[in-house]
């Protein structure tokens, strides 16, 4: 069911919600969180809602879409409520903000947040410079950005690093989970040897490749090199050198990965690039600070070959970012 409320107020929206619940039996209880999606007023709105609806099958939530429209227009709030079949397991409120109101999305959100439930903010496109200090970001316990969708992904990643605050997370990181799981499982087999060096390759503007390198650096404390592979494929390979040989996970085609280890047959694994809805569902699964992501971000400066910079000699850490002690590079 879709109900449009043009030129309205938040109390009218709340009223309509209760009304719909009583009449249609559209139950809005039992929601576990409020997901705030911040976009501009474009096709992105529908794409994000679709991803959120899919994710809501695992985490029933109230989805508030803040779509910022023309700032030059007069102040106006258009709302649309979707429940039932049009909203997955969630209820979706699309809030279109025009005029000066577009910069005050937080004021519209406050009355519509579910009581006593966590708030998650998600920017599917461009994110604020410092998400934790954004007015909407401040309302949220968890802030999901997507550096891969930014205009300049690597620059955006740099900004995530320098402004990291507990509760930040990024879909470029979420996309890595299957890679990380496979690499971790590969080390769990004999021979149990230390990794000497690491090389990670991926498209030049692919922030996941950088994060994978950062993660390996933060965990292994050995030299990690970032290499560039042709654009379009995301992460293409991760190679860990050990005394007995290489542990290699390569994915040339973006679909199927091959895991090579000395003394073992090659193993092929499905390693498809993950759609946003999977990533979002994973993100909503945990709402506490992700220390592992933080460490991976901080270790970015210690990765060799990122944008031609030398590891260790990269720009020093910036305020708000604690840098891990550099132990290696021997």
């Amino acid at each position: 069911m879709i109900v449009d409320l043009p030129s309205t107020t938040t109390s009218a929206v709340n009223h309509a919600l209760i009304d719909m619940r009583e009449r249609g039996g559209a139950v809005a209880l039992g929601r576990v969180l409020t997901l705030v999606i911040v976009t501009d007023d474009s096709a992105q709105v529908e794409q994000s809602i679709e991803a959120a609806n899919e994710a809501s099958k695992e985490h029933p939530c109230r989805v508030l879409v803040v779509a910022r429209g023309l700032k030059r227009a007069g102040t106006r709030l258009d709302a649309q409520i979707r429940v039932g079949g049009d909203a997955g397991a969630s209820e979706v409120l699309v809030l279109r903000l025009y005029g000066p109101l577009a910069d005050h999305g937080d004021s519209v959100l406050v009355p519509l947040l579910l009581p006593d439930c966590p708030v998650v903010a998600y920017w599917p496109g461009a994110a604020p410079g410092i998400p934790a200090q954004d007015p909407i970001g401040r309302l949220a316990q968890r802030r999901i950005t997507d550096t891969a969708a930014a205009n300049q992904p690597i620059k955006a990643l740099e900004s995530r690093r320098s402004s990291y605050t507990e509760g930040d997370t990024d879909l470029a990181w979420t996309r890595l989970t299957p890679w990380r799981a496979l690499l971790a499982a590969a080390l769990d087999l004999p021979p149990y040897e230390d990794v000497k060096t690491v090389t990670v390759s991926g498209a030049a503007d692919n922030p996941s490749t950088d994060l994978l390198a950062g993660w390996l650096r933060s965990r292994l404390h050995v030299p990690v090199r970032r290499r560039t592979s042709p654009p379009g494929g995301g992460v293409s390979s991760a190679i860990m050198e050990r005394r007995s040989g290489r542990v290699e996970l390569v994915r040339p085609d973006g679909k199927v990965g091959t895991l090579r280890q000395p003394g073992q047959p090659d193993r092929r694994v499905p390693l498809r690039r993950r759609p946003v809805r999977d990533c979002l569902a994973e993100e909503l699964r945990r709402l506490d600070p992700d220390e592992i992501y933080q460490a991976a971000l901080q270790a970015l400066t210690e990765v060799d070959g990122r944008n031609g910079r030398r590891g260790g000699s990269a720009k020093g850490s910036q305020p708000g970012a604690t840098r891990d002690e550099t132990r290696a590079d021997q």
Partner: protein, 515 residues
């Protein structure tokens, strides 16, 4: 946290793993599964789809292998087709070609019968070949989806061919399904036969109830909350009803069911496990050892209420109307016409601990009952003093906390509330938590969880020998008593069991809840 199946040298820690890294799923180490009875319902409807779902979630190791063994003149491709169809039809997660293609690479079929040495030699060489080609590393689980009567011969073959014996740091595990015997003696025999070939820590007994989210949630509900534990004892609890009702009849399973009956089929395993989880003390930790220790303790303290004439009931469904269709009685099933096997069983248990002294546990199960439902209902005592006049509380029942296991998983709390109006009148209302609305429409199937645990070597959710034997020890006197009695009492299909079940609980001064 480490991937199971490998034994790392002492002091070696996988640098890429970290307890705080909760995103990382536990992927099973290199391994394969061999299924016996691969053409059966269980295998097609549950096991194979569960394996695909695990693969789809990225939880199976790269190079995973699946071997089918059955008396069919099939090539690998025929078997792959069977798996494909089973997955297509029954898998929970969407079908993805690339996942299937990888899984398919590791699918093998070995034709043969259980008493044929040559086919088991073939199986052994296929398994060895998989270690080479797929890198399964000598780690294999043998899933016996076959009748228990055939266990001895299959186990003997596994032992003869050396398939049951792992070398070095490899593992071999065996998975068996209920029934685990039909009384204490036969359960011990079966355990001996199995333990002869596989040591107890390599035996995984599937009670698929324990793989269900809601069953695991009993532990979370009880031990993660401050709210319930203080009232979870005989001071506040009046009695507990554990029900597993099915709306289906025997429908073709009469051959299997004859001589087994509801008590052996359901009470001995599912219901006593539910009782153990409901009544056990808090484990020191969630380690398999502590959990089992507490379950064994509470099962040891569980005794039948006597005399059995008054504290048990059994029945057979007769023809009737159920949910709008006319159904046959059980005695009209082919081969069942003079059977005394019960299709409904109810028993009364006491848990002799300080916590539960004087609190009866009523367990019932049956086929062709009112509807399909499994639940644990904890019924609380009435408030000791009601400052209301009796007319005001006429419609107030006892408070109840109901854990719904299936369908519509969730928890309901029933309590009294004032009826709107000028008069003070109190009536029962319910507060409802549904799993489906608070989380996961897409929670994993029980078999997914259990299969993964087998591959990871994580034994928490599998009952051990001692639990199985204790359960039989509890149930045996009832079975012996019933064997001496007349026929089970008939009950009309679509009702909630025979009148004797109502008499039984009325003797204890209680009534059955309508689930």
């Amino acid at each position: 946290m480490s991937t199971a199946g490998s034994k790392a040298p002492a002091g070696w820690v996988n640098p890429l793993l970290d307890g705080r890294d909760k995103r990382l799923p536990r992927i099973a180490g290199p391994c394969g599964v061999v299924i016996f009875g691969v053409t059966g319902d269980l295998s097609r409807k549950k096991l194979m789809p569960a394996m695909y779902d695990l693969a789809n979630r990225g939880l199976l190791p790269p190079g995973f292998a699946l071997v089918g063994f059955a008396r069919r003149d099939w090539a690998d491709e025929n078997f792959a087709e069977l798996v494909h169809d089973a997955v297509r039809e029954h898998a929970r997660t969407p079908f993805r070609e690339e996942v299937w293609a990888r899984l398919c690479e590791g699918v093998r079929f070995v034709p043969g019968s259980f008493d044929d040495d040559a086919s088991f030699d073939d199986l052994a060489s296929v398994v060895a070949e998989l270690d080479q080609q797929r890198g399964t590393g000598g780690n294999h689980a043998f899933y016996l989806a076959i009748p228990p009567a055939t266990f001895p011969v299959v186990l003997k073959q596994l032992s003869r061919t050396g398939l049951a014996a792992p070398a070095g740091d490899q593992w071999r595990r065996v998975v068996i399904e209920k029934p685990f015997g039909h009384d204490l003696r036969s359960a011990r025999e079966l355990n001996d036969i199995v333990n002869d070939v596989f040591p107890e820590e390599s035996v995984f007994r599937i009670d698929h109830y324990l793989g269900k989210e809601t069953v695991q949630n009993i532990l979370a509900l009880r031990f993660a909350n401050q709210l319930y534990e203080p009232i979870w004892n005989s001071h506040y609890v009046d009695h507990v009803q554990i029900t597993m009702a099915e709306d289906i009849g025997l429908a073709g399973r009469a051959g299997y069911y004859d001589g087994i009956g509801a008590a052996r089929d359901v009470i001995q395993n599912h219901l006593l496990q539910l009782l153990a989880l409901t009544a056990m003390e808090e484990p020191l930790s969630f380690s398999p050892g502590s959990l089992r220790g507490e379950k064994i303790k509470v099962l040891s303290a569980t005794k039948l209420a006597e005399p059995l004439d008054e504290t048990t009931a059994r029945g057979q469904y007769s023809a009737g109307w159920q949910g709008g269709t006319k159904v046959d009685g059980v005695l009209e099933e082919p081969g069942f016409h003079d059977s005394t096997t019960e299709t409904f069983a109810a028993i009364t248990l006491n848990v002799d601990t300080r916590r539960w002294a004087g609190v009866p546990f009523f367990l019932r199960t049956g086929k062709r009952l009112g509807r399909r439902v499994t639940e644990v209902a904890v019924i609380f005592k009435r408030a000791p003093h009601l400052p209301f006049e009796t007319t005001m509380t006429e419609e107030l029942g006892q408070n109840a906390l109901v854990i719904r296991i299936q369908p519509d998983e969730g928890v309901t709390i029933r309590f009294g509330s004032k009826v709107p109006g000028t008069a003070m009148e109190v009536r029962d209302v319910t507060m409802d938590f549904r799993y489906g609305t608070a989380f996961t429409e897409s929670s994993p199937e029980a078999y997914e969880r259990l299969l993964l645990d087998v591959l990871l070597g994580e034994p928490s959710l599998f009952p051990v020998n001692a639990e199985v034997e204790l359960s039989w020890a509890i149930l045996d006197p009832v079975l012996e008593h019933w064997a001496k009695c007349d026929r089970p009492e008939p009950y009309a299909a679509g009702t909630w069991g025979p009148p004797s079940a109502d008499r039984m609980i009325a003797m204890a001064g209680r009534t059955w809840r309508r689930p």
